[in-house]
């Protein structure tokens, strides 16, 4: 009756070592994925937050902007009418 043959003693450290290597690689991989995920999430949060939008100034038509500069009241000139009206002001 033959007894089960034991593996050579030298083989055990190499299997443990390779397992440790795989575990270390997995940890590194997980770390890199975590860092990348964090960076991606941070970027998305910043990009979607209103306050993080590009600080672009108003780019409305200059003619529109010009109208609201200065006090809106005062100015304008009138004189007595010297003929039939060409237009009418009324409530709208």
């Amino acid at each position: 009756m033959s007894r089960p043959r034991l593996e050579p003693a030298a083989a055990l450290p190499s299997r443990i070592g390779s397992a440790r290597g795989r575990a270390a690689a997995a940890r590194r991989g997980l770390g890199m994925v975590a860092v990348a995920s964090f960076g991606l999430a941070l970027g998305l949060v910043r990009a979607s937050h209103p306050a993080a939008s590009p600080a672009a100034g108003l780019s409305a038509p200059p003619s529109l902007v010009a109208q609201i500069q200065g006090s809106p009241l005062g100015g304008g000139l009138i004189a007595p009418a010297s003929g039939p009206p060409a237009a009418a002001t009324s409530t709208s």
């Binding site: 209103p50 108003l58 003619s63 304008g76 004189a79 002001t89 009324s90 409530t91 709208s92």
Partner: protein, 276 residues
């Protein structure tokens, strides 16, 4: 914009651009188009929303008008207008027996606009139409490129040429430069809860104004200034003529057929006669 647009002095190409301008502004600021930017902003629950540059300028002009008039011309009265029954295009309004429900009035001073962002108190309903109409008239008048004028529902801006303008309840005046506008209750009135309503909401009460004026016409350096002055003069009632005099605004008031012209109006006409 629910009113007649008159353009004089425009070449066909310019006229097409002006028509497009009014259509664009109506599509952006209409209270009655579900897809308008104004309705999107009013429906948004977020405290801060992105707005277009044109929208931001209109809000800025409305806040400027509110500041200048001590809050009389207020951009936050959209909810009060809806409550009074003005919740559809004027031509579609019908008498409604339901009473006017009170609404919360928000403070225009809490509105901030800049960098393409708008913040306002929750549930604020903006109404920018008065300001936008006058601003668009001014912008269109600048586009004429020569003598002429633009009128939207009787709010007028002239571009370098004297224009004789008929006034409410008779009479006329020559608008030599700038703009002229009239505020009043004769044009847009409807029944709600058995009571006559109109679109000039007094921010001090949140309800249609009980001013004794039927028409207030004011002159300004542009149509926007004239429109803001006319609204403020109307809402102030008896204090309107003096308030506008203090600010150098010529104005013409009508009440029950009687016409009152403030000192600035009379003085402007006297000076013009003296120079002629």
């Amino acid at each position: 914009m629910g009113c007649e647009i008159v353009v004089a002095g425009a070449e066909p190409e310019r006229l097409a651009e002006i028509v497009h301008l009014f259509e664009h502004r109506d599509a952006t600021f209409s209270r009655f188009r579900a897809g308008s930017e104004l309705e999107r902003v009013n429906a948004a629950p977020e405290p801060i929303v992105r707005v277009s540059p044109t929208f931001a300028v209109a809000v800025s002009a409305a806040l400027d008008a509110a500041y200048t008039t001590g809050g009389l011309v207020d951009p936050t009265l959209g909810a009060a207008l809806r409550a009074a029954g003005y919740d559809a295009d004027f031509s579609a309004l019908a008498a409604d027996p339901r009473p006017v429900e009170p609404v919360t009035h928000h403070d225009w001073r809490e509105i901030r606009v800049g960098r393409g962002l708008l913040s306002r108190p929750p549930a604020t309903v903006l109404d920018l139409n008065g300001v936008v109409k006058a601003m668009t008239v001014d912008e269109a008048a600048r586009m004429l490129g020569g003598p002429g004028f633009v009128s939207a529902g009787g709010d007028i801006a002239t571009n370098g040429s004297p224009l004789i303008v008929a006034l409410p309840r008779g009479g006329a005046v020559t608008l030599c430069s700038g703009g002229i506008a009239t505020s009043g209750t004769a044009g847009r009135r409807w029944l709600r809860g058995g009571r006559l309503q109109h679109h000039l909401i007094d921010p001090r009460t949140g309800q249609p104004s009980t001013s004794r004026w039927t028409h207030v016409t004011a002159v300004g350096r542009n149509c926007l200034g004239a429109d803001v002055a006319a609204k403020a003069g109307f809402l102030l009632g008896d204090d309107g003529p003096g308030w506008l005099d203090d600010r150098g605004v010529a104005a013409h008031f009508v009440a029950d057929g009687a016409v009152i012209e403030n000192d600035c109006w009379l003085h402007s006409l006297e000076v013009a006669v003296a120079w002629a």
